[in-house]
Point group: C2
Chain length 240, copies 2
DNA sequence: GTTGTCTACCTGTCAGACAACATGGTAGCA
DNA sequence: TGCTACCATGTTGTCTGACAGGTAGACAAC
């Protein structure tokens, strides 16, 4: 006979779970404003500090956003997806680690996306490719950069696998906030031909995904990352 | 001229970041007890509710654990790694999604592990393989199951890439808590030969990783997941 | 039409208090 | 001596009430 550990649940935890369920069930859709803390406290029969602890937890995992003086709002989970706090733990020398991780994971993502993508997702990928090509100019660095990020996010979305997106999104977003930016800016400012080449590689991925050719999509993404590594350090990590 | 958005930082956020940094710097190692909330409040010049909000956030992302009447303790990040809250959002039909994600990602992980592993990590992988083979018995289902999980976690660790581990760990851990368990138990109880075969596939992965053969490691892991899919549903998702 | 002001609402923070819980020591008892 | 019951202490969990500061909308003044 086995006994499970009894763990008395905190009121704040239960408040968080109730809110979680409500959000999950669509009671509070993305961008919706939650009831005020005072109202939540009253309706759940707890005090405001307890509600605030629950909200603090939900904010920490990136599910809601607190806007002072206005209210608490539901965030798009796949866009924020927490982890910022976790990744703070390895903030310094991790840029190359992120690139390494993305280098090995994203070809697999591209492969799956080529099997599962919908027509809408194909359109989105191509639209971003257009943007990338039109933004290939030093003065529009920031716009180009976010477009690049959106391409990779859209690709993960195209797999239709929300958990895969949940795992990859922080890797893609975090890179945005890190040294990668410096790397990119450095080469981008002086090497315009390279950037158009990378943009073209994005298009290759999109075309393979659109055509439903998993193997080709994988290879295009591998080529993309090989090019990126040459750009940032001049050396290769892919051995095969 | 561009202006940046002004966003005043909350005191509770700063408290959380200070604690985060302290943990990261090893001031509070794993399993260590943090100072009491009252002491933290006094030393940081804020009130206890503010400290509690910060602690609530850290607990939500799985960095600390609050034990009532005792104190707050630092958790092993790679073992907890939050997300439980996030994945609650997609609790139902997501088991196959997790398998799908792991099926495409883990071969890439195995490939990298074969390039980066250390001797210690090789020993650990083989040790777990031994366990798996000795535990291949219906009565020891639970032990077998956690050993299986530890194998995959150890493999990610063997890549030496902490961010990759951070992204993969929740996928591996979450599967443990989900329907997968039911699947596995179902076949495991009646299909002992299959389980020994899967255990053998683990060993193949370990051997390829130990030998430093990335391509072989990838193929062994792909074979592992093909076998898993046959076991749970009798159909294949890998097209190549 | 723009600016300033007022008001109502909401979040962020604080102080103090009490209950529940866990730990360790102590006194009482066999 | 050895065990048990009790209590003091420290800590977390929760509550109440309050105030400061930010935000948005309405309205008056220029």
């Amino acid at each position: 006979m086995e006994f499970r550990k009894v763990r008395p649940t905190k009121a704040s935890t239960e408040v968080a779970q109730q809110l979680l369920r409500a959000i999950k069930e669509g009671v509070f859709p993305v961008d919706a404003k939650l009831p005020s803390e005072a109202e939540l406290a009253q309706r759940m029969g707890v005090s405001r500090p307890t509600v605030r602890e629950a909200l603090s937890a939900l904010e920490a995992v990136g599910l809601i956003e607190a806007r002072p003086g206005i209210g608490n709002f539901v965030k798009n989970p796949t866009e924020s997806m927490a982890f910022e706090a976790l990744f703070l733990l390895e903030t310094e020398a991790s840029c190359l680690e992120i690139m390494e991780a993305r280098t090995i994971l994203e070809p697999a993502v591209a492969e799956l996306a080529a099997q599962k993508r919908t027509d809408d997702q194909i359109s989105l990928l191509f639209a971003i490719c257009e943007e990338l090509q039109s933004l290939a100019h030093p003065a529009r660095f920031d716009e180009y950069f976010t477009a690049d990020k959106r391409f990779h996010l859209a690709l993960v979305q195209a797999t239709g696998n929300t958990l895969l997106a949940a795992a990859m999104t922080p890797l893609i977003n975090t890179m945005d906030q890190r040294i990668y930016r410096e790397f990119t800016r450095a080469y981008y400012m002086k090497d315009l031909p390279s950037i158009t080449e990378v943009a073209a590689l994005h298009r290759e991925v999109a075309e393979a995904v659109a055509a439903g050719e998993p193997h080709k999509a994988r290879e295009a993404m591998e080529a993309h990352w090989r090019r990126m590594w040459r750009l940032v350090s001049g050396e290769e990590i892919l051995t095969r």
